[in-house]
Amino acid sequence: MDNNSNMHFVLKVWRQASPKAKGYFQTLPVDGISPDTSFMELLDIVNNRLVEQGQETIAFDHDCREGICGACGLYINGRPHGPDDEITTCQLYMRRFANGSTITVEPWRSAAFPVIKDLMVERKALDKILQAGGFVSVNTGAAPEAHNILIPHAKVEESMDAAACVGCGACVATCKNRSAMLFVAARVSSLALLPQGKPEAARRAKAMVKEMDRLGFGSCTNIGDCQAECPKGITVDHIARLNREFLYRKR
């Protein structure tokens, strides 16, 4: 046991047995927590204690626990990924919370992300958007020598800024319209900035936006909450580029 494992909290956790079941908040006090415990580890501790008491554990998505896989995504005290900037939930540490405080934990809230169980939601819609066109149509074995394609440093850096998206869905969860615009824009922009992605850029933008609309995501009204909550700091500039691509296509 750590010498400084002396923090305690009251968790209010969303429990929901299945997609159609009625959900409720369960109150779970937890003590003996070190400030160096990550939020995922806090849930591990709570779950282990639930097993010790013969109770069913809280279901939540998580995998890499280092902020890159995008699996985790929780509303914590009303903010996607909790009270810190440019992090995923797994990079949130208990030192960010006041000792003794009550912490409310909820799943993403969006019609396009139905709850599977407790804090776990279905995000297949994001895959479907990418399947509509988020790729360069090149067959394996057909590529030219890499240096035949030159890309200026600044362009590739900007493309990389957008490509850093981890597909967690925080942009959707925080948007009052539940729009996936920043997610779509990140992929469209990342490829549109590169010569490899140019030939298909306009078709891609149109197909992906169409699929986003079909799947029940809302429209973008330029609020910018998505940018504020994106764990990878992706900006709404990319939405502007998506809109440009979209307009070119219309002409």
Binding site: A17, S38, Q55, E66, G70, M120, D127, Q131, T140
Partner: protein, 649 residues
Amino acid sequence: MKLQAKIPEGSIQEKWTNHKETLKTVAPANRKHFDIVVVGAGLAGASAAAALGEQGYRVNVFCMNDSPRRAHSVSAQGGINAAKNYRNDNDSVNRLFVDTLRGGDYRAREANVYRLAEVSNLIIDHCVALGVPFARDYAGYLDNRSFGGTQVSRTFYARGQTGQQLLLGAYSALNRQVAAGNVTVRSRQQMMDLVTENGRAVGITVRDMVTGRITSYPADAVILATGGYGNMYYLSTNAMLCNGSALMQCWKEGAYFANPGFVQIHPTCIPVTGDYQSKLTLMSESLRNDGRIWVPAKKEDAAALREGKIRPSDIPDQDRDYYLERRYPAYGNLVPRDVASRAALERCDNGFGVNLSGRAVFLDFTHAIQTQGRKVIEEKYGNLFQMYEKITDVDPRKEPMMIYPAIHYTMGGLWVDYNLMTTVEGLFAIGEANFSDHGANRLGASALMQGLADGFFILPYTLPDYLAGLPRKSDQQGTSQAQGLMRDSVLRVKQTLALLAGMKGNKPVDYFHRRLGKILWEKVGINRTEEGMRQALPEIQALEEQWRREGGITGGIDTVNQELEKAIHLEDYFALAQLVIKDALQRKESCGSHFRTESATPDGDTLRNDELFQFVGAWEYKGPQTEPALHKEPLEFKYVKPGDRTYNG
């Protein structure tokens, strides 16, 4: 069964080219008649599925996450190797081949390693075409950096997120095939069983992790791309869903498990801080391009640091021991991972370790920031610095990082022949799941290379050769027999799960897994002794018995049940742990990551015994209460003579 590696004849430069000429192909119109199952959707699985989909096969991909984009390849940070020689520093296919073989301490198969080096350049070309935003210089050319165990700059990178960008590339190719209708992705599914018919893989059985439904999928070939088993040690850099269960299921169906004892320990990870820590975060090897590793030269300084009386920056340069630069001047901070890990352990064991527990060393960027400027360093490693700061609350630009070795990668895996087929016909293993290319130690930035080499450029040539030899479906006898086998498999899986779900003790899975990991880390981690490993075996058995008595699983089997998922893996880890120890015990030599303290040079480096141990150790499953049998594939080195593996001059 005698192991047939099927290494082609001819000079090493011609083997793969000649071999491809001899491989049978399947006509485009016939490809849609073949069902291929790919388990795992990381770099290897996604690239294989995409490439096979492009050819026109019907592919089913299974993954445990909600999306293939989250597979653990996404976490790879530093880069991917290729022999492009863009830096004009005398790199070549041959040099990459020799470096990899030597890095693996001459315990890999020569022909496979050469082929890997040979296709490395195609990977870069293809990934660029897919839109992977590799770092570029101001003229627009691709940039490179260096990794351990080499003296050239051959590593391509996309900031500290190379794995993510390559995975998104492979995943986008996969998505294109999903849209084309050739590939179906089945997510949130865990493999539970391999179905075989007369020693031939004919399908798999999976559990739906949302509904608990057990289903069998028939297949003409099964591709295992499920990664490594490092999570057996509980604390590792692996993602939480990484596991060894599919490997063990295949092992029990007849696939030999090769070199299970070869487990890589990465030298630069964020140290353990508490009892409830669930994983260790890697700090990329690329940081060793510019970061310098040191501990205090004086024990009293180390003690003062541990007590918090001084800060690292208070220690003047002459009182610091840059021990890697001191011991290995030719490679400095960029020695291979096993060498750097042992050196860190040696300093800490001797009282020079620096954090609260004395189990950490410094990785320092002060010099680099002074000489190159903060902007340059930030562009190269910014996201890693941010990650470190979020976890530790310390800014590595101001005070050096504290790092310590951690379990990272498993070189061991299913034994495969040159065609990547296991000892079960029709079962192929690719990426980290196989054993083939890294010997006893993998070089940095080579995992991504191997995953994509197997998936994009090797399996799509070798798999059709197997498929073309299968009897035509209409002529096939015994289809009903196969259906019966599938039903049996489903029943068997249901029984296993019912037993697990009935465990009503009050100790959670994590309690046992954490203890298992501790035993393994201490007894079969960086330093391994005959005595320690012999002690570990009964300890593991006792722990397993305790698990059966006191382990508890709550929740049902027909719903999301993450305790049940973990329990399935724990059961396999108990068996796998013993296999790892048996392999490490039989190999009475030191090589690469496998360091037997009984077999060391006077300087404390690995001492190989080529006369007795120049072989691949492949283990055959013989039944639940029976000792596994060891089969040896002798390794022949015709092109590179196994020599010293010294990195000091």
